[in-house]
Symmetry: D2
Subunit: 369 residues, 4 copies
């Protein structure tokens, strides 16, 4: 299996960009959890294209999921929850041309090698970011169920095109709710400058990359394990699977590599509730994890997204018919920057991974007699 994730809550993604539908199966959520279809639709709409802003493709999709199983009278049954999202507006271009001149930075060549030429080439097939609509659906449910237990998983645009959102001053609190902002940065001024950077790139027939930061606040301490079930491993395996991601760091990440230990350790502080094991930390350089296990402070991760490889300006590639260099201008409707739409996706993906980790960890205890 290659499009599945999770241990206790298993996610199976399917679909091609220009096939009948994308979708997923969750095997299986705990029984009895409420499903808020309104909140689900609002979250999905944040990822959907055509929402406005200069970064968005012209493709219009409603991304309205149909739940096929696993929900009864508004609550999860505890059996597999399947959903699909029909693909509409799938104008398949002349992919024969594309098949001859692979797009730089795309999976055109690697996908052909991996699938022996049998994969669906239209719109990227299963490689398409379109498939992440199904991941967004799954994560939207995880977000609801975590929120009901006081956990908020929120992301912001930390940087686009070299323009940085200022670092938040309070490392111990949740992010504010930015879900109403088309470009969800903490600073509106920074957001405006990012929009300008995107506009400038588009005007040049080019694209820009950026950084998304996610903060999950309210998780209990004690989730994770020393090695391959570290919080960082579980989150990393999910978030490194998002298209266009080139790196991830936790807490202060790469900056930690330039510090001394005395500057980097988070000082334990007396427990506010009197139970000394619930000690706090004066800082959160570790990003909510020590030894791979949650501290109870916010879990923080930052993701590097590369600039959209599909750009209108001319590039050079290889003509597979002649094995000679050839010019290419990538046709189609491509965002000049994927970062704003990635924000709800990162929230979804992180929430899913953390919920699965939580459910797995609950199984580490023998149930009471």
């Amino acid at each position: 299996m290659t499009s599945s994730y999770g241990t206790m809550l298993r996610l199976s993604l399917f679909g091609e960009s220009h096939g009948p539908a994308v979708g997923c199966v969750l095997d299986a959520p705990p029984p009895g959890l409420p499903v808020d279809l309104g909140a689900l639709a609002r979250h999905m709409a944040r990822r959907a294209p055509g929402r406005g802003g200069p970064w968005s493709t012209a493709r219009t999709e409603t991304d309205a999921p149909e739940i096929l199983s696993g929900v009864f009278e508004g609550r999860t049954t505890g059996t597999p929850l399947a959903a699909l999202i029909r693909n509409a507006d799938t104008r398949s271009q002349d992919y024969a041309a594309l098949a001859r001149t692979p797009r730089p930075g795309h999976a055109d060549l690697t996908g052909r090698l991996r699938y022996a030429g049998a994969n669906d080439p239209r719109g990227g097939g299963h490689f398409s970011a379109r498939v992440t609509a199904a991941l967004c659906f799954a994560g939207a449910l995880a977000l609801q169920w975590l929120a009901a237990r006081g956990v908020s998983v929120r992301a912001r645009v930390a940087e686009i095109g070299g323009v940085a959102d200022p670092t938040p001053t309070d490392p111990l609190s949740p992010f504010p709710d930015l879900s109403d902002k088309p470009l969800p940065a903490l600073s509106d001024a920074a957001a405006a400058a990012m929009v300008a950077a995107i506009e400038a790139a588009r005007a040049d027939g080019d694209s820009v990359g950026g950084i998304v930061e996610v903060r999950a606040a309210g998780l209990p301490a004690g989730l994770g394990a020393p090695f391959f079930d570290r919080v960082e491993t579980r989150l990393g395996a999910m978030l490194l699977s998002l298209p266009a991601v080139r790196g991830i760091e936790f807490g202060d990440g790469f900056a930690c590599a330039r510090r001394r230990g005395s500057e980097n350790n988070d000082r334990p502080t007396p427990s506010p509730d009197g139970d000394p094991l619930h000690a706090g930390r004066a800082t959160n350089r570790a990003g909510g994890a020590e030894g791979g296990i949650t501290t109870g402070l916010p879990v923080v991760a930052r993701l590097a997204f590369k600039p959209t490889p599909s750009i209108p300006r001319e590039q050079t590639t290889v003509d597979l018919a002649t094995n000679e260099p050839a010019p290419i201008r990538v046709p189609g409707r491509h965002d000049p920057c994927v970062v704003p739409r990635a924000v709800p996706l990162v929230e979804s993906a992180a929430a899913f991974a953390l919920l699965d980790l939580w459910l797995s960890s609950s199984a580490h205890r023998f149930p009471a007699p």
Copy 2:
């Protein structure tokens, strides 16, 4: 399960720092692969403490593995390969004191919460980097088996204490063999400056962090998958599981986030062997993967290691008996910098993950009739 990794080649780690042994089971390598015990011992010795250099603990260990199963007449049998490494020289300190004052930056608190107080506290127990000796063993075998197919997996110290090894000029070739160097950087001058930085930190009762870069050259193109079996996901899940790692980036990583698409795409180049699908790339900003699938160029990853949290100089923590702040000086034999010894470990870990990915990918094809 929480200390297991892999799909077709499953690694199960076990052991505590001050228990009888650490070890692992590999379930199972392909049958008939040669096991070179001399090369294995040389590789293990690079990770072993007491090898010299100012960064190394005084603890002496031979790290000599005993193979318990899975090898017959010098070759793998194809059944599970188990090995253990006895723990010698395990002077258990007074961990009652440590239990009362958790070390900043360690898993003392989170481990107690995770394991309900039952985990072995001596020397960090299963959280100890000592367990990575078993991972180093497993990876040493993977390195041998990959080398026999022309794949080299080599790492270098890219940075320590803010001192950077110069960026290699040729992104398309393997790293040179640095295994004889105690501090394996490309530049001897940089290595000397790194040693000085470690010495300075040690003189201050402090520690420093750094960055390790690994390059795997010679892999076939076409390994991986669009989502949760991406090269980046598989490598990330392994490498983010190493103690002290705070981030990972692939290819040019976070730097990609600051580029335009026209600057970041790797231009396809005509195939040297005449089969156009074997097209090369003019650059390797992507680090050997497009759409999560190998391109045939070197797979490149960089890992941020935090400075050793255990430092002799005084820090402040919480006294769990009183819930009041308390001073702490961490006793024991701790490296002021884990980065040099991490280099063979990163090579091992990356080789294991890539071998498992390769074996998994071979199963994507239906065997010939």
Copy 3:
């Protein structure tokens, strides 16, 4: 995850009897395999209700699957293959009554305990044999792909209501193709007697059980492993998951327990092709597996199906509102015998398990350099 099966070819089942649809995801078949929709429909029709015969429910279903992904231009893409089968004709009865008086032999009580009362009670929900339509779909594809490599997986009714089909005289050959028979036994006379037994039970408001035997011929020798990937384990985990199955035996099964070794061992015979490792066996009491690994002879398994628990005649149960005994007559459209319709399902399920085993085994070899 609880409704998933498989190692290299992962099957995820979903759906409830009276929900919108049942379906599955296969993650993922090898790329480039042809999908014969006509053969698929013919195989599905054999399992569908309403096909005639006294054992069939009145419920009419077309069981027409819609493929959502993973097929392009008539061949598998190598990415996840998802399909759904809409539920039509789902007249939901008054399940409030059923909720009060649990049906003997059903999951009414255990399901409520397992799912904390949240599972869909209509028509059995995810417990319904309706879900096996999706398994039948997945297995129909496996049957096609195995057939293309010369492997036939065929089942027969070996017994119904105490009436036995005569034991086949040739243990080394494939079963004949019985797919056109509504009650696929080898002997037409036995089939007629079985039909009579079903009719008699129905006339009494009762039901009967039986035995299905499956024979998979043409598999290569060498598939499986000594312990948890034995052919018997892999097949057993699949076939014991079918509703109403109470036991499984391989080869001569329980009869072996009453023999002496000299009577039970299959004598190796000289290889017909000259390679001595391709030795045959004079008999096939072992059912095609020695040490858990295929011998190249037909793999043979027999499955015991209990009589349908839902019967019109009056039984006694408990009234959950009063905790007192209460009479019950199970309403609804239930087959008086599930065995005839189970035959294509057993073929499907066995084929899926064997294909997955084959693909897994191919990964045990390191790919050629």
Copy 4:
């Protein structure tokens, strides 16, 4: 991976009959569970050869396990628990002769095909029942931990050489403790007749098979799932992996196939504790599971063991050097009946599978806020 089992509690087996050791890793038991080394040794001794009785090999083994990790101060740490059992007394016979004339009923041929000739041929290598000593160890711990919660998992010899132990009259109670009996049948008279049957076979240079029945009493209702995590599936995947097993049935098993529904359904009875969902059943024909989920009644399974294939009397096989028939007399120390020693192994294996199922099921609930 091919020698691993389990979901939340993962067992990894390793070892060859004539290698340095057999052993296992459990990844990982819940933390804080007591480990009773005395009870462990007593349980292991029941499986050990040389215990007396005519069925036992002359090979003497102490089967004393060394725990390598995961236990601290007499309790589980919650991290992986590894143990090994050294192989002593491993007189390797001339396996060159065996390699030329494969033993009928053994994995000599299939193992060579599966492992391309690289597997350890001495004493059967990893195919050897010797490896089950490690499984017995793992299960002995599971038995202890289940017993502490009121669950008894006990097996009896139900049949040997055609001699049946009488069917127990009370299907709802645990089996009595038979662990002191060398041949643990309920009836001493039947046990004596079974011993006579074994003696007679041995006198003829032959062997006999038999049936083991296991009963697990005291499990909570509600464990399992409708499809691939059925109690039957989980138990079946474990028990069908034991060497020499040819079939398994649950509850009344194959006998159910010959009944009518009205004869086979277990009638629900009023709950003894007043909570109607805790309804009992008047009978236990289903063997403790409805819809794949525990009812709270004893879980019952019966296993068919074939007669030992290694027998002193002459048989015919193939000479691999000539591809001609050749006589063979299997040398070595082989039990004329494996069934008595299989009893503690079946208890171990079943306990392990049920504990893993229980731990997995606990993860189906979202932990309380």
